[in-house]
Symmetry: C2
Subunit: 247 residues, 2 copies
Amino acid sequence: MAKQNIFDNEEFFDGYKKLRDQEVNANILFEIPALKSLLPDMKGLKVLDLGCGFGEHCIEYVNQGASKVVGIDISEKMLEVAKAENSDPKITYRLLPMEDLDQLDEKFDLVISSLAFHYIEDYKGVVANISRLLSDKGLFIFSQEHPLATAYTGDMDRWTRDDNGVKQYVNLRNYGVEGERRSTWFVDGIQKYHRTFSTVLNTLFESGFSVEKIIEPIPDEAMIEKYPDEYDLLHKPDFLLVRARKA
Amino acid sequence: MAKQNIFDNEEFFDGYKKLRDQEVNANILFEIPALKSLLPDMKGLKVLDLGCGFGEHCIEYVNQGASKVVGIDISEKMLEVAKAENSDPKITYRLLPMEDLDQLDEKFDLVISSLAFHYIEDYKGVVANISRLLSDKGLFIFSQEHPLATAYTGDMDRWTRDDNGVKQYVNLRNYGVEGERRSTWFVDGIQKYHRTFSTVLNTLFESGFSVEKIIEPIPDEAMIEKYPDEYDLLHKPDFLLVRARKA
């Protein structure tokens, strides 16, 4: 199956890096706090980070006491930044697409992935490999774009808005039709894969995972007051986060 | 908390009974087949049916070999029909709101509920009682209106459509705001409760259930050819079904 390496496209990379350097964005407000809330006590854990990107998460896991962290990514450019900015003797960065996890052969206590799975065509194969790499009762924690966001097929507006510009309706046309989606994000032709909520979860159940918690981040009142634009997210969450345990 | 007994309203009851007497409707096409696909081998099982209505499910469980079925419902009028049309020595029909499950004190192998939970305010309390009434490894299977359907707040159109009348956008305004919804279905002021996907599932996880399968029914190509109107459901599913096991 296709492996997409959009992060080594220079135009994309530059746009993405600028976004990541912002002080406030949807990742910082919603995804990162939700992901952190799902983490266990990291002391002494062996951690595998799938799609580690710039390595910001890897270095944080070490700072929280992880004994070993392996970060893999498909993008050489991302890993160059990771090695330059977030290096540590306990971290190994490795150029490896998530689809080639069968090249790994050691056990981890925690496998984690932040906002990478919606780029993956063979989600089921990746989940099977994650189960193989986890020790008994090991944890698998991930975030992805919410199915309500990935459903969009790009053939019309994503939203309709009321007179105040607030999102009212969302284009869910073809929510039930899973598979490839093409979109524009810094560059044309970004390839994503839409899966329904039930497929995301059933794949975990069928692979022997017991799901413990799901989060669809939504702003609270204090956040809406501080960042009124994020009020839009009451309309629907943009991210889905899952904590699952190998049974 | 409020217990709604809309089914004993005569106008509602008459409209609902006519709908149920149709040869084809969304229940028959989507909800019932999905619910059946989640059922275990019923032979010898003790079954509790929550919101049993006319008892069509109860009699079917007996026909499939259940050794005992208890059907409870809040509506006297519904239970009158159940006793008249779907009676069996193995079935006990009992006038009892789902919110008063603490009045029951026996163990069941399977607790099942079809399209009733979106009327329930205290979902968490009902789930806790279901766990108490289930034997070890017992199954809890239910269907409800999908969170994408219950999200609707009724203050504007539920859909926008393209020039061919096909649904394109759905009003998800306030998906993130859980709680009471009022709508009109045969009569005004039908009271439902919206919960997000994550609340529906996390409540199960927190109550010690292990979820095994989720279904969001969507028409297949054969069904779309036969009932082209149901193509709308690709837009989003109207029902959510869950099979969970007491851990």
